[in-house]
Point group: C2
Chain length 350, copies 2
């Protein structure tokens, strides 16, 4: 297969971890006889420095032309501490999601048998966890109108959803559940929010056309609790943009490290793959960040194009590194390895 892959390393540890994912894709290329073409472009804080904007036009067109985008990480603390900054790195990612129409962010959470003891949660709580979060990614409060009055004393964000926005990701979630454990849990705050009630109405209606899938409702506050009390109860979690952001970071503790969690962002015409972790600026350039989330994002990319055997080979190699303890410092193994050592090990085992 020929694939044009746009590489967007971004900020912080983005470039380091992305480089390992590319190594692995190159190993797949060789082993399975594919042709992957990589083209790189800046996004985020680095793009602001180089081009004066977090999403340069050239970067966007590269992504639009590519078959898929592999994304590193975004964000720089320098902009966080300045609440008056008009432009910030994160806008690059948000604009990109919107421009590529990536309305569904898919985040699998599993407990690796070899890592059960790395989680702050007890083994018996997390063993057997295997769920996937379907987070709506181009709507809600992230993209609603933002206002600040002239005096700078009143600020607001609008959380808005339309039936169509809810409907398209809901179908994806039910289809996924059909092929999995046949349960969808809709997480909302329908006892307080009008937008949540729209979600509940639309999802309930669509659910009726998937009679083999059970639909459950859960309030977000309760879900934030249930996901750590009893994570094995979940199969597919379907939720709006911000709740999905929160739940997936929270859910990462189940796997033992946020450095393990990958995600796919899917639209009708484009797809982007990225770790769920941030730019981890403290680790930048130190060759200590965990590359596995980025490598597993590459595996999701392969999966997306139907390259199941190839994706499987990558996941197997990741498992091997975990089993052998060829891991970075976040996994607190007896000895630990650098980002590139872990990347090399995994690539060699593909």
């Amino acid at each position: 297969m020929n694939l044009n892959i746009a590489l967007l390393p971004g900020d912080g540890i983005g470039p380091e971890v992305l480089a390992q994912a590319v190594k692995c894709l190159q190993a797949v290329e060789e082993t399975f006889n594919h042709t992957f073409t990589f083209k790189e472009a800046p996004v985020g804080a680095i793009a602001m420095e180089q081009k004066g904007t977090p999403l340069p036009e050239a970067t966007l067109s590269l992504c639009l032309e590519a078959d898929a985008v592999l994304f590193g990480a975004i964000g720089d603390p320098k902009y966080d501490s300045n609440p008056d900054a008009k432009v910030r790195p994160e806008q690059g990612l948000l604009q990109l999601r919107k421009a590529l129409g990536l309305y569904a962010n898919i985040r699998p959470v599993i407990s690796h048998p070899t890592l059960l003891n790395k989680s702050p949660l007890k083994k018996e709580i997390i063993a057997g966890t295997d769920f996937v979060i379907f987070r709506e990614l181009t709507g809600g409060i992230y993209f609603g109108e933002k206002k600040l009055n002239e005096e700078g004393t009143v600020a607001s964000d609008l959380c808005e959803y339309s039936e169509d926005e809810v409907s398209r990701i809901t179908h994806l979630a039910f289809k996924a559940a059909k092929a999995r454990k046949k349960k969808v849990t809709l997480v909302d705050k329908a006892n307080v929010l009008e937008s949540s009630r729209l979600w509940r109405k639309v999802v309930t209606r669509i659910g009726e056309s998937y009679p083999e899938v059970t639909l459950e409702h859960m309030f977000m506050d309760n879900a934030a609790m249930q996901i750590i009390l009893n994570p094995t109860q979940f199969d597919v979690i379907l939720t709006e943009n911000m709740f999905g952001d929160i739940l997936s970071d929270e859910g990462s503790v189940i796997s033992g490290s946020i450095g393990l969690l990958a995600s796919a962002s899917i639209g009708d015409e484009n797809a982007l793959f990225e770790p769920i972790h941030g730019s981890y600026p403290q680790a930048k350039g130190k060759n200590i960040a965990n590359p596995i989330a980025s490598i597993l994002s590459a595996a999701m990319l392969l999966e997306h194009f139907g390259l199941h055997e190839e994706a499987w080979a990558v996941k197997k190699a990741v498992d091997k590194s975990l089993k052998k303890g060829i891991v970075t410092i976040d996994l607190k193994s007896k000895s630990h390895h650098s980002t590139s050592q872990v990347g090399d090990f995994i690539a060699h085992n593909i």
Copy 2:
């Protein structure tokens, strides 16, 4: 001291657990020679059935006249499953918070030494946890304009904050931190939300007038992770309405059961005390719900009026019940006791 206390049992297990808190307050009355006058009124689903509205006027005036309100729980699944319902029980509580001006909801989270093994989190993670969440309670997306277009296909909620709303709870949080471990963590999503950036600006400015207190910033997604990865890092968590709702339910797993967590809702003129748990309709009338959150809410009420010794006596008695295993089924002790048995035990030990 003479205190007029309005009792709002509400829905589900509310009446059962509130009755135990009243028992304890009566024990305090006797032991310490105070006069507490209790007057009861309906709120929530029960008020909708009896009076056609979740917050009857008589209930509101009772609360306005009282020195303090002791609240049970609210909510009924019958209304949750109907996204078209125009009125719902929860509005009773939201209107009450607004009408009483209860802008600060204070939720302490500690790990009881005797309950360390009840949490899904590992002992070594939670031991020594002692933080308090200051949740803004009368602003944000809970109270912003809600819209639904005529066709019912587009819905929205507005998250709005003014400088004054942020400022008053911020002062409370910094004052509390001054008397505690001298650290405030502001939780927001300032990399995406305009309202969060206002929070960050106002809180940072106010923080400068409390030089002995350290101010930290944390994004909400990261906070949802940090609170279970490393809960002992927190002292005072300051945040907006919905983030506070989510974080406090999540934080409850640290204590071993959500049935243990109390809260105080404070305004300039009124105060209300309630468990953080919901109405737990499955347990209604079964005499199995944990009354401790309600009893500890009564202790927070005593504290609020400067009755420190009295509050201490209640907390001591609660500790004794925990140590002796005189607890309800949620705490999975060898034998378990009913709601009223636990209430009796604690009241007798005051």
